[in-house]
Amino acid sequence: MRTVSDPDRPAAADGGTDAEESVDVEDPADGDGPTAGATGAAEEAGGGTDPAAGTADSATEEAARETPPSLSLQVDGLEKYFGGLAAVDGASFVVEEGSLTGLIGPNGAGKSTTFNCITGVHEPDGGTVVFEGQDITGFRPHEVANRGLVRTFQIARELEEMTLLENLMLAPRGQVGEKLTSAVMPGLRGRVREQEADMVDRVWETLELFEIDHLAEEHAGNLSGGQRKLLELARALMLEPSMMLLDEPFAGVNPSLEEKLLDRIHQLKDEQGLTFLIVEHDMDLIMKHCEHVIVMHQGTVLAEGPPAEIRENERVIDAYLGDEV
């Protein structure tokens, strides 16, 4: 929903209505007249962020057409070799801001390596990664995360000997108490405590959102597999990212929990305008929930498009049935 000039704004942790208003802010270029009407219409839309589904008037629609939805992530010609083996071999794709994009592909297609190259775990051997207009190719993992691009792991990596509260308190960005001097010096600790006291409230809210608040003071190592997945998502969320990369978030998760996780993801996308890129094996799930699907095969992008298109794509079907493409 946001227009091109939007990335300058701080990562939105605010509601969907704000996303609507941001369009209005850009509107004056089109003329003063329709703006008032657009505001009203947008408010009626009630937080929907999909431009196509919006009931905004023609002026807004025109604005949306003229300035295409901005891109959260642009991956261009990404390459990564392990020895002589090309794990990722020139993959290129884009993820639109505020979208739920699925990344699928058979085992060994290079999905996880692509993730690792984007998030800085691996340094790519070629190609570029651009996040919110900034080239982040070869950035180290913490630098990527601090720009608001956070990931979760295929196998949930909870911090076992830390309580859920500590797990969540770890994530927020810009904690003054992470400087040794602020943590220790008597005069400076007041600010650390203030900031932490504020964070505690948000931590509890997040735990409640994921319905794991009753376990708050447990060690994370005592959680069940599904609860760990919830914890990991909750923890990543505490960082207030603008985009999340989820590596098989539903692997080994029972259907009811899967439903719960998907609800949260949709809620975050709709209410906070978060962008999601999800690696998943379950084709049906991806087709049902994602607006945009990227199919990888043998280190390259085989197809990209809306689910309906992908479903019909011969090459994708072949790849999944194991034929040579």
Partner: protein, 509 residues
């Protein structure tokens, strides 16, 4: 750290803050430490009463409890420093002795007089003496003796700080390349480094050498970067006359460097008057050791405070996260390398300080001292494993249990046996001891155990270590939840409104 300290606080005032401290003391960690120390004191008082003693029994008990407290405090400091590395951050530093050695020798370089009294002994920079001389000139309004003493204390403090910086710097140099590698490599690098340091200190090359040879130049009549002769003394060791016990001794003696040559001060007269007379009957040296022990207890408290402060903060939270899973911490936006280097440097500096307070108190050291042997590192590790890695309270308790019960306990036990059971000549070998045991006479075995107790306690330590690792791998307090945050995170402490209540906002130390 001892019970006496906190009792003093609670007696001092009955107003609200004092009651708060008392409450915290009762159900908090200070209480746990106090109870442990109390039990150890009771045990050793009984052991002393049962064992052989010269002079009044109260005096013997007091002097033994002083020794127990001294060892406890020395171990507690180093275990706390190691807890910061290994317990909190998971940095497997098995070169503790090396960093202690750096602290000890850097302190020696700084404090040893420029012209040592013993012929052939290595010279040092003589910083405290220089400060003392300068202070007499700068503070003419003070009594020259007092001014010189203040200068000396300042000089010692400066030397300690410089030595800590040196240990920290060596830590940084070690850490920078090693921390980029997997955890095991840090262990290899640190243990190798500690041996390199120890062997270098033994080397004849460094017995005496000159700092800054051929670097000196003159500018405007002032000589810059002069040659400074210093030395480690190599295997012959080095005298450290100006050690941290000197300021403590100065309380009792006018000439702390050589008490016999000077007088006792007014305070000394008073204290000695009480403690050397019946029912105590302590020797004067025991009294000054007792004073130094109390200073060390103060240092333990400071270490503890610093570590709790570091641990209960966002910084400490990141350290814990690094210990649990560095990749997670990294992918949540924490530059883990920076945290690791910082914490490694701080821990090494504390190890340096611990080394100074430990080793220099006797006024002499050489590289063959146990303090700088790899063995020392493992003692400290064992103490931390018993107490529970990751818990500061556990570190102190582990230090106490190791130093008192495991290390001193067997010696007391053997003394008791010696007193009560007549033993002619102990068998020379364990075979001899066991052979007679088969004929149902336990005396030879007992005699063998008693005469070899200082070696056999390694077996006891080993057995305890195996037991702990098998049955309680996290140590006594290792699995406890010590929330890494500066405020309480629990929901019941949260006010329903937005503002932070006094309870929730209470600083956690």
């Amino acid at each position: 750290m001892s019970g006496a300290d906190d009792d003093g606080t609670s007696d001092a005032g009955s107003d609200v803050p004092a009651r708060g401290i008392l409450d915290r003391f009762r159900d908090g960690d200070a209480g746990l430490i106090a109870v442990t120390m109390l039990l150890i004191y009771v045990l050793f008082a009984i052991l002393t009463a049962l064992g052989p003693s010269e002079g009044p029994i109260v005096g013997s008990i007091l002097s033994n409890l002083q020794a127990i407290t001294l060892w406890t405090a020395l171990y507690a400091m180093l275990v706390l420093a190691l807890n910061l590395h290994w317990g909190y951050t998971g940095l497997f530093n098995i070169g503790v002795a090396g960093f202690m050695a750096i602290g000890i020798y850097a302190y020696a370089f700084m404090t040893v007089p420029k012209d040592p009294s013993r012929p052939g002994a290595p010279p040092g920079l003589g910083v405290p003496q220089g400060f003392a001389d300068a202070a007499t000139g700068l503070l003419p309004f003070l009594d020259p003796g007092l001014a010189s003493f203040l200068g000396l204390v300042a000089g010692i403090a400066v030397a300690i700080v410089v030595a800590m910086l040196a240990a920290g710097l060596v830590g940084a140099i070690t850490a920078l390349p090693a921390l980029r590698l997997r955890a095991d490599y840090l262990a290899i690098v640190t243990v190798a480094l500690s041996e390199i340091i120890r062997l270098s200190l033994l080397s004849r090359e460094m017995e005496t050498f000159t700092l800054g040879t051929n670097l000196n130049f003159e500018l405007g009549g002032i000589e810059f970067l002069p040659d400074v002769p210093v030395g480690t003394g190599a295997g012959r060791g080095i005298d450290i006359p100006i050690n941290p016990t000197i300021p403590v001794k100065r309380v009792f003696y006018t000439n702390p460097g050589n008490p016999a040559a000077g007088d006792t001060t007014a305070v000394g007269d008073l204290v000695f008057g009480v403690l050397t007379a019946p029912p105590f009957g302590l020797r004067e040296t025991t009294v000054s050791n007792l004073a130094y022990t109390l200073v060390l207890v103060g240092f333990v408290a400071a270490f503890y405070w610093l570590l709790v402060r570091i641990g209960n903060s966002p910084f400490g939270r990141v350290l814990k996260a690094i210990r649990e899973d560095e990749i997670v911490a990294n992918s949540l936006g924490k530059d883990t390398r920076v945290f690791k280097v910082k914490v490694f440097v701080v821990g090494c500096a504390l190890m340096g300080l611990g080394g100074i307070l430990w080793e220099t108190r006797t006024g002499f050291t050489d590289p063959t001292s146990t303090t700088m042997m790899p063995l020392q590192t493992f003692y400290i590790f064992i103490a931390l494993i018993i107490g529970g890695a990751g818990s500061n309270t556990g570190s102190v308790i582990g230090g106490a249990l190791f130093a008192a019960v495991l290390f001193q306990g067997p010696l007391y036990f053997s003394r008791i046996v010696n007193k009560w059971i007549a033993i002619d000549t102990p068998p020379q070998t364990s075979h001899g001891a066991l052979a007679e045991f088969a004929s149902l006479d336990p005396t030879p075995l007992l005699a063998y155990v008693v005469s070899n107790v200082s070696w056999l306690r390694f077996i006891i330590v080993g057995v305890v270590l195996i037991y702990v690792i098998q049955n309680r791998p996290t140590g006594l307090l290792g699995h406890r939840k010590e929330e890494a945050a500066s405020v309480s995170l629990s929901r019941r402490d949260r006010p329903s409104g937005g503002a932070v209540a006094a309870d929730g906002g209470e600083d956690r130390e």
